[in-house]
């Protein structure tokens, strides 16, 4: 790792001020950023830890029934505390990485990084969640802007994420066993006004909504409804773990499994 200055503020306002410095970078749980620093793929002059900010931690139900999760909340806490309110989300959180990673990694860190194979982006896009930052609210549909790219500006911090709780939902992760990321992951959520389907791990453009499947499932919420649909493999990720065609095929299979499991 290159050398950097370290700061650990205790409020969002202090963190935003600290991030105003030249070449400053926010540190969530560090489960991606620290390995990245070790590889010398990033060289911030200052690292601003968000782990000391109490107001960014925890899970609670809002007045409108949506589930609010602080940006600094670990995957382990979401797995535990969201279990009765939004089981599909808690289940997703409980299978990110491994137990020690889940004790450090945070939802805000995962979303800000927007790894094309991460699990949380699928839940956030699939739920039509709202990302709240120190400056504004960003709809999930506007937040994810391609691989490792988001709508966040440099000194902007994800303070919380608000999930409308669906009538039924499920996440199917086809595990890439070495990295423990999703080779492909599909999140399906059924709301009163329609079904949302979000796919991670598959596209060169990062997480995306599968519009055709959403329309078909909104008409009829059963696995057969998407049986005839195909994803174009053109923009899929192709690597030694799976070809473009294989990933495109998995999207269909996992969507059907998710619908069957959501019931």
């Amino acid at each position: 790792m290159y050398s950097f200055e370290f700061e650990k503020p205790s409020t969002v306002a202090e963190a935003v001020a600290a991030l105003g410095a030249e070449e400053a970078q926010a540190l969530g749980g560090g489960q991606t950023l620290i390995p990245t620093l070790k590889q010398r793929l990033a060289a911030p002059a200052k690292l601003v830890s968000l782990s000391g900010i109490a107001e960014m931690k925890g899970v609670c139900v809002e007045d409108d029934g949506s589930l609010a999760i602080g940006g600094g909340t670990t995957h382990a806490t979401v797995a535990r505390e969201a279990a009765d309110k939004y089981p599909a989300l808690a289940e997703l959180a409980s299978h990110i990485g491994d137990p020690a990673v889940r004790n450090r990694g945070t939802i805000g860190g995962s979303l800000a990084n927007n790894d094309p194979s991460a699990c949380y982006p699928a839940a956030v896009l699939g739920s039509g969640a709202t990302i709240r930052t120190n400056a504004r609210d960003i709809a999930a549909d506007d937040f994810f802007q391609g691989m490792f790219t988001t709508a966040l500006s440099d000194a902007e911090i994800i303070t919380s994420v608000r999930f409308p709780v669906p009538q039924a939902a499920n996440y199917q992760k086809f595990l890439q066993p070495a990295s423990r990321f999703a080779l492909v992951g599909v999140f399906v959520a059924r709301y009163a006004d329609g079904v949302r389907v979000a796919v991670t791990g598959a596209s060169e453009d990062g997480v995306f909504r599968w519009g055709e499947a959403e329309q078909a499932l909104s008409r009829e919420f059963r696995p057969d409804a998407v049986m005839g649909l195909r994803i174009n493999p053109m923009n899929m990720i192709g690597d030694l773990h799976g070809s473009k065609e294989y990933r495109a095929h998995l999207v269909g299979v996992l969507t059907r499994r998710a619908v069957a499991a959501a019931g």
Partner: protein, 161 residues
């Protein structure tokens, strides 16, 4: 350099570290607690697992300054007060849960974290909990047996597999 203070295995310690100093480096290089092993240094192998405020974390994936003020537990703090092996360590010995021993500190610390939250885990729960701990010798079988035994459960079913 910044001063960092924490409690390690019940003792107050402090030292001057850089921002980039990892918790694993602080434990090994500053405190000479070399029981915490650094295997992959990428957060995947789990040899460096320690407890921070009671939770299992990968110490090579956490900055020392992030542990300022924390209660840290390492393999050196696992033995009983009289120096004898604790229940988990003894079970690893009894069931031959190690060969080269490199992964063992992380395995024992993960097992301790699991049993604290889940005193009688199933075989599946043990295997799932060890997903972030890699062992290249044992094939995991005897490690799972050891943890079953440490939780006071019958290991017969695993032995027969």
């Amino acid at each position: 350099m910044t001063q960092v203070s924490m409690t390690v295995n019940g003792k107050s310690v402090s030292g001057d570290v850089e921002g980039r100093t990892l918790l694993s480096s602080f434990l090994r290089d500053h405190l000479s607690l070399t029981g915490t092993h650094v295997g992959c240094d990428t957060g995947q192998c789990g040899a460096c697992v320690v407890h921070v405020d009671g939770e299992a974390v990968k110490s090579c994936n956490m900055l020392a300054l992030e542990a300022d003020g924390a209660e840290v537990g390492t393999i050196e703090g696992q033995a009983n007060a009289d120096g004898s092996l604790n229940v988990i360590q003894q079970a690893f010995q009894d069931h031959h849960g190690l060969q080269c021993g490199f992964c063992t500190p992380g395995m024992v610390m993960s097992a301790a974290a699991l049993l604290k939250d889940n005193p009688r885990p199933t075989e599946t729960e043990i295997r799932e909990y060890l997903e972030g701990n890699i062992c290249r010798c044992t094939g995991y079988h005897n490690i799972v047996k050891a943890i079953m035994a440490a939780s006071g459960q019958d290991v017969g079913a695993i032995a027969a597999e």
